[in-house]
């Protein structure tokens, strides 16, 4: 066997690293054992709710008009990361980006109301950077996956997601976000009441 030491060394290292990657990823996801529903008035409050719930490494199911994934300016991110400035202000346009930087969110599923889906689908097929992914489309923001999917095509997320619903658009959906959150086993449904 010792004649095979380079083979065994390479194989053992690969197995150890893969096992470490799997266990690191699993250990980093934090789901609250208690199911909650809360209503907030702003995206700033929404982030506070997530922080208080101890959410980490989570997938977000989004019932909003737009995903708040606008990037912080590179200089702002750089100086914040170096501890030389505070984070830029949270806005509806960038709150998810902030949640990614904080390690709360690792993936986003943006749910589009069924009546709007055909038009959105047609438009996304022409937008550079979006690719077909199952029944929906996929893109990334700095490597973080964003899946856009019609509500009729929404399948199980495979894990309890954080759910965000904007009350102003709730009527556009055929299924209520509360039902979807229950089916997916979400531990936290946050409803935005009249957020700007």
């Amino acid at each position: 066997m010792t004649r095979f030491w380079p083979l065994l060394l390479g194989l053992a290292l690969l197995v150890v690293v893969a096992a470490a990657a799997v266990s690191t990823g699993a250990a980093a996801r934090h789901v609250s054992p208690v199911r909650r529903e809360v209503a907030v008035a702003s995206h700033d409050e929404l982030l506070r709710e997530w922080r208080q719930a101890g959410a980490k490494g989570r997938v977000v199911l989004l019932f909003e008009r737009r995903p708040g994934l606008d990037r912080w300016p590179p200089e702002a991110l750089s100086t914040w990361a170096r501890g030389k400035a505070t984070a830029p202000a949270t806005t509806p346009a960038n709150y998810l980006y902030g949640a990614i930087q904080e390690g709360i969110v690792r993936g986003i599923i943006h749910v589009i109301p069924a009546p709007a889906w055909p038009a959105v689908k047609e438009r996304l097929a022409r937008v550079p950077g979006f690719t077909r992914s199952g029944p929906g489309f996929r893109t990334t923001t700095e490597g973080v996956p964003l899946t856009v999917v019609g509500e009729e095509d929404l399948v199980r997320t495979g894990e309890p997601p954080l759910v965000v619903a904007d009350s102003r658009y709730a009527a556009a959906y055929r299924r209520s976000p509360r039902d979807v959150a229950a089916v997916c086993g979400s531990d936290l449904l946050v409803t935005l009441q009249g957020a700007q």
Partner: protein, 402 residues
């Protein structure tokens, strides 16, 4: 043995001195440094990829973060990673060329060329990851050559380690790794044990190292299947890049087809007075670079005649690395030539000592060193007399930093 160590040490410290001089002339974050430094912090401390281009492998962030933690988040600490890898490339090229050509003189010539090359010096004083990637690629090639000539298995394991690190720095080394695997399999085809060991050393080991550098990313909750999807996303985004996404200044440096046949340069004006001018130049050294392709061709012809795989190696590796860059549709900037330089200089060193009269070789080497000396103040931000450099300034696009 002692003489060899002395020569290697001399080469290292000579290259180190050339790269360290005036290193902190600009103390604040310069050019892409702000993105590189910010990404080093976000990745090492949080496992996120921004603000730098997220699709490149992340080992560069960890190395940069490490040197900043050791030497400080200042001009020296930020640039130290590249200074060290850049200086270490010089003695390594000496060893590589000596093994390839069996000539100490050719090795010394090659080492001197890379030590004084203006592009190599410029990027050895920056935070671009191409300098460590070039070093690790050369290290892997040196060990593969050693493994092909010796019975011991450790050089191949070392090669796998070096290639794994190189791959975790930049994807463009992948074709060379594939070529090294094919070459090693061919050399070992009659021995099943050694063939299996080659799989362990050159496939499993680099894969383990590559995966390991993503552990901070996994610490954000990702699963292995998501990693595979992310790698696909990264490849897709990288292959869809267009020139429009880059600053105009950098586009001047794009076009691999021109690297070894034209003068490729962009300057950043830093002011000046009383007939002296200061600027930071990104430039190849056309006097030396124009000899690279002919030298590689001559070396390959000689290798073919002598049926020598050793001499054929630099040309084949050069082609394996360079040809994909020529055909991809996205912009490729001149700093991607850095891994090619040691191979090119190996061939030039061989050509000087093996394929031409001694007097001509000495004269050529003198011209090479003088041309490097001409460019040196421009890549190290020393003021130069305007009158002497006017013909160059008139030909090069000079930007004003914002």
């Amino acid at each position: 043995m002692n003489l060899r160590v002395a020569v290697l040490g001399l080469l290292f410290f000579f290259a180190l001195a050339l790269r360290l001089v005036h290193l902190d002339a600009v103390g604040e974050l310069r050019g892409d440094e702000a993105m590189h430094v910010g990404s080093a912090y976000t990745y090492a401390e949080r496992g996120t990829f921004g603000p730098d281009n997220w699709y490149h492998p992340p080992l560069k962030h960890l190395l940069l973060y490490g040197t900043m933690k050791m030497a400080g988040d200042d001009a020296t600490g930020r640039r130290l990673r590249n200074v060290l890898f850049g200086a270490a490339t010089v003695p390594l090229l000496f060893l590589f060329t000596r093994r390839i050509t069996r000539s100490g003189t050719a090795a010394a010539a090659a080492a001197l060329l890379v030590a004084t090359d203006p592009l190599h010096i410029h990027f050895s004083r920056s935070t671009f990851e191409d300098i460590p990637a070039a070093f690790c690629l050369l290290l892997g090639l040196w060990f593969v050559t050693m493994a092909a000539e010796e019975e011991a298995e450790w050089p191949l394991v070392a090669a796998g380690g070096a290639f794994g690190v190189a791959l975790a720095l930049k994807w463009y080394v992948a074709p060379v790794l594939v070529m090294a695997i094919a070459f090693t399999f061919w050399r070992r085809r009659a021995d099943r044990v050694r063939l299996a060991n080659a799989v362990g050393a050159l496939v499993f080991l680099p894969a383990a190292i590559y995966l390991a550098v993503f552990l901070p990313w996994f610490s954000r909750g990702y699963a292995l299947s998501e990693w595979v999807a992310m790698q696909r996303d990264a490849f897709r985004e990288l292959s869809q890049l267009s020139a429009a996404g880059f600053r105009t200044a950098l586009n001047e440096l794009s076009g691999p087809g021109r690297w070894f046949t034209s003068h490729v340069a962009v300057g950043f004006g830093l002011g000046g007075e009383d007939g002296w001018r200061k600027l930071l130049l990104i430039t190849n050294n056309p006097v030396v670079w124009w000899t690279i392709l002919p030298a590689l061709l001559a070396m390959a012809i000689c290798a073919w005649r002598e049926r020598s795989w050793r001499l054929l190696g630099p040309a084949v590796v050069f082609g394996t690395f360079y040809l994909p860059l020529l055909v991809v549709a996205r912009p490729i900037f001149v700093y991607s030539s850095l891994p090619l330089l040691p191979l090119g200089f190996c061939a030039v060193g061989w050509g000087l000592t093996q394929a031409m009269p001694k007097r001509v070789a000495v004269a050529a080497m003198a011209v090479f060193v003088l041309s490097a000396a001409f460019f040196y103040p421009l890549v190290t931000e020393f003021p130069v007399p305007d009158a002497l450099y006017r013909p160059l300034f008139d030909r090069v696009r000079i930007m004003v930093p914002q």
